[in-house]
């Protein structure tokens, strides 16, 4: 039997022990004596969530192509095991070798959302690695953070040795080679960090000093050594077809959230929605070729045995060869009896035809993300979708037999008025009305079901809305109730359903998203007070967070409701994503005027992403 870190008694008394035993099909075992570098790759959430993440799968298999590196996986222990590990002082271990993470060379943590920050501290704490980077010893692992939240790493700066800014395929091997060289030459941890600072995309927070004005606003961000560049430029893959992609994905025993083959067709998005961070940080848009994708899909289905495949991108309808790709997949998957799931497809004649081929129309629902209730606010956020497109798309779908519609909105958007808020209910009503007009009584299968849900807008770094002010928790809830009441007044109210997200989480997310280094102590205090799994509403405890802010003297309002000046230096401005701050500011101003900016295929708006090779910027 493979040796396990946890005893039989522990494994038999906790929930889902398979979260911790590893050994899945296509997971990688190596002989520790044969490798030089041990890398623990962590997703700081529970196994079923973490195993569903594509980025980790890519990096895990990519690092393991090197015979001198063994990359293993680590996830957050669930609360039941968390208690046991603390009580019995069991150090956090990696799934493959079951050996303590604290003995590894690297601990890489992907930071996908702000609400996992306390889980990061849990991972360090349970691994028995000093929480502060400054307190780590020579033999502690190098703790490195990546993923979208690394684009504003400052709230976490003191807990990480390095941050990786950009796409993982680019700089990991140079970084690991440098580590090996430094070790062979007898260099110290500090020597390595200093040298790592000159690798493209690597940010070493300990080599920089933020300086603040009296009013608390950042005045400068100073590199402390010559090796630390003033700006860190993100690194990206220029040719997606040539980039590494895993052909033998790990197949979990437990049912993961993504229990399917995930085929990444494209990176980046041409749309330029002004609230969307992914749409800016992943520029320029790059896509894989149909031939490459069909070949990959076949190999991944064969090696995993998955019964479903899903396309992954920010906006699949904008993939230029979407029709041949989907037709090719349908043909191949029919032979294999594999289901296809197609998220993020725009509703039009083609997608409806495709959906009717691959799903049961009676059971499936249509999804629209208008994000705003009126055309005015949709122009402000640069969401191209018009009311006409939504109503026509819905009408076509209703004629094809669909009768369930899901609508996604945001509340608390910049410039939002009561009219925009009420517009949410009115748009839902118009769709319902259209159903009863389009579908004759004898063809109706019950009522149309329209479910609208609203989340509250959180301004993110590197978006045109990074200058936006947020509202208070009470104001978000007031707006949501207003919309809820408006839904009750609609003629077709029995066909309509409205739900909204929690508002307290929104405010906290806002603090963490645009926070600076001074927020770090509050995160640690919240963790010490018992905050964990904040992304899970069952566990989120806002009172503890409020207490943590009080104790550490951090004023959340400074980060949320304060108005930011046009020239304010932001904590994340030292990062260069290609897209310029000047462009973002111009977009902010256009938003205030309600002017739409065309997408990258229609015309280039000169955002700055063209400094990178490859992608849409250099197609013609």
């Amino acid at each position: 039997m493979r040796k396990l870190a946890l005893s039989d008694e522990i494994l038999r008394t906790i929930e889902k022990p398979a979260r911790y035993t590893g050994g899945e099909v296509n997971s990688i075992q190596k002989d520790p004596g044969e490798v030089e570098v041990r890398f623990a790759m962590c997703f700081p959430d529970v196994y079923e969530i973490g195993m569903s993440h594509l980025g980790i799968q890519i990096l895990y298999h990519m690092l393991n192509t090197r015979p001198d590196i063994w990359c293993e996986r680590v996830y957050s222990p669930w609360t039941d095991l968390d208690r046991v590990m603390r009580e019995k002082q069991i150090p956090l271990f990696a799934l493959e070798s079951q050996e303590p993470v604290r003995n590894f060379d690297f601990l890489g943590i992907t930071i996908q959302y702000e609400m996992c920050y306390t889980n990061i501290l849990q991972v360090l704490d349970l691994a028995q690695i000093p929480i502060f980077a400054s307190e780590r010893e020579e033999d502690s692992p190098i703790v490195i953070g990546g993923g979208p939240c690394a684009y504003n790493p400052e709230p976490l700066a003191e807990f990480f040795d390095l941050f990786y800014i950009g796409e993982g395929e680019s700089s990991y091997f140079p970084l690991i080679d440098l580590y090996k060289e430094n070790k062979a030459a007898g260099g110290s941890r500090k020597d390595f960090l200093k040298k790592a600072a000159s690798i493209p995309g690597i940010y070493v927070p300990s080599l920089y000093q933020p300086v603040y004005q009296e009013d608390g606003i950042l005045s400068s961000f100073v590199p402390l050594v010559p090796e630390a560049p003033e700006r860190i430029k993100k690194v990206i893959v220029s040719d997606l077809d040539g980039a590494y992609y895993p052909e033998r994905p790990v197949v979990p025993y437990l049912k993961a959230t993504q229990d399917r083959v995930v085929l990444e067709i494209m990176r980046g998005c041409i749309r330029g929605c002004r609230f969307c961070q992914a749409g800016m940080i992943y520029r320029p848009v790059r896509q894989k070729s149909v031939d490459k994708l069909l070949a990959l899909s076949a190999r991944m289905l064969e090696s995993s045995g998955h019964e479903e495949i899903s396309l992954s991108s920010l906006s699949s309808s904008d993939y230029t060869e979407i029709e041949p790709l989907i037709n090719g997949l349908i043909e191949d998957c029919r032979k294999r009896k594999v289901n296809i799931s197609l998220p993020s497809l725009r509703i039009d004649a083609f997608s409806l035809d495709v959906m009717s081929k691959i799903q049961d129309v009676k059971k499936s629902s249509l999804t629209f993300a208008p994000e705003g209730g009126t055309q005015r606010i949709r122009n402000v956020i640069n969401k191209g979708l018009t009311e006409e497109e939504i109503l026509d798309g819905a009408a076509e779908a209703f004629r094809g037999g669909w009768n369930k519609v899901k609508l996604y909105f945001m509340l608390g958007l910049p410039t939002e008025t009561e009219e925009d808020q009420l517009g949410i209910a009115e748009l839902a009503e118009k769709i319902a009305k259209r159903y009863y007009e389009e579908v004759p009584k004898e063809n109706r299968k019950g009522k149309v079901q329209i479910t609208a849900s609203a989340s509250f807008f959180v301004p993110k770094p590197f978006t045109p809305f990074q200058w936006a002010t947020m509202e208070s928790e009470e104001e978000y809830l007031r707006r949501a109730r207003l919309v809820k009441d408006a839904f009750r007044e609609q003629l077709n109210r029995k066909s309509l359903h409205f739900q909204y997200h929690e508002a307290d989480v929104t405010v906290l997310e806002g603090v963490l998203a645009r926070g600076d280094r001074r927020v770090g102590p509050a995160i640690l205090e919240a963790y010490r007070l018992g905050c964990l799994y904040d992304a899970w509403s069952d566990f989120f405890d806002n009172e503890k967070w409020k207490e943590a802010f009080r104790r550490t003297g951090v004023d959340p309002n400074f980060y949320t409701v304060r108005e930011r000046g046009a020239d304010e230096l932001f904590p994340w401005d030292f990062i260069d994503i290609g897209v310029t701050k000047r462009f973002l500011r111009k977009e902010w101003e256009r938003a205030m005027e309600g002017v739409v900016t065309p997408n990258c295929r229609v015309s280039c708006s000169g955002c700055g992403a063209a400094v990178f090779e490859g992608g849409i910027c250099h197609e013609n």
Partner: protein, 233 residues
């Protein structure tokens, strides 16, 4: 054609639950390109049924599942193809054709199961000293135990469901117990009853339970589920 597969679930896979074993096999069938039959509809699923699911924490070399295939190679070839795409701790032993007629469903035919019960290190019982007591325990006309099953809970006599019980020289127990949907006795229950008889506190985590085989009844005799099928040559 109907196929019966015997497989083992050992080592760390004792921590994988029954539903996950099912999902594991659905994917293994695809990886091995077994021409398994599917149900109709938009999300067709494989025609596959399991005999007597094993609880978490138990290992087995006598697990069974029945599937339907449109055609397949020889038994030897199919066992090889499946094992090639499986993990080491889950291995297929046989792949046999079931007669087309008659009640052959694996779950429905189960009558008995063999187990080996051993102890975790440091938790062993002193066989030399306790053997006479074990003998007396088995000689009782009835063995009453409070049990909770899917259907009932309450005190009942488990003696008739202990078909064979031997304390082996190596210190482990061999138990042949009634199994199936009408009468089912878990090996832990026998050990618990013995502890009560002996006056010792029962520690379920001290035991290691390993299932050896499952049986059905053919012409009044117990027959290994495997032997209901025939090798495909």
């Amino acid at each position: 054609m109907k196929i019966r597969i015997r497989f083992a679930k050992t080592g760390t896979l004792q921590y994988i639950g029954h539903l996950d074993v099912m999902r594991y096999f659905q994917k293994a069938m695809r990886r091995a390109e077994v021409e398994i039959s599917y149900s109709q509809g938009f999300s067709p699923h494989q025609i596959m049924s399991f005999a007597s699911p094993l609880g978490i924490g138990l290992t087995s070399e006598g697990e069974y599942m029945d599937i339907e295939v449109s055609h397949c190679g020889t038994s030897e070839e199919m066992v090889g193809r499946l094992n090639e795409v499986m993990v080491e701790e889950m291995k297929v032993f046989s792949f046999r054709r079931l007669p087309d007629e008659g009640k052959t469903n694996a779950m429905a035919t189960i009558a008995a199961a063999d187990y080996r019960v051993s102890f975790r290190e440091g938790e062993e019982w002193d066989r030399d000293q306790l053997l006479p007591l074990w003998g007396q325990f088995l000689e009782q006309e009835e063995i009453l135990l409070w049990r909770k099953t899917k259907k009932t809970e309450g005190t009942g006599d488990i003696r008739p469901m202990i078909l064979k019980a031997v304390w082996e020289e190596d210190g482990s127990f061999f138990l042949r117990l009634s199994a199936g949907s009408s009468k089912n006795l878990k090996p832990e229950a026998v050990m618990e009853a013995f502890c009560a008889f002996w006056g010792k506190e029962f520690h379920p985590f001290a035991l290691r339970i390993h299932r050896l085989d499952l049986y059905g009844i053919k012409e009044g005799q117990l027959l290994s589920l495997e032997d209901f099928g025939e090798e495909i040559r």
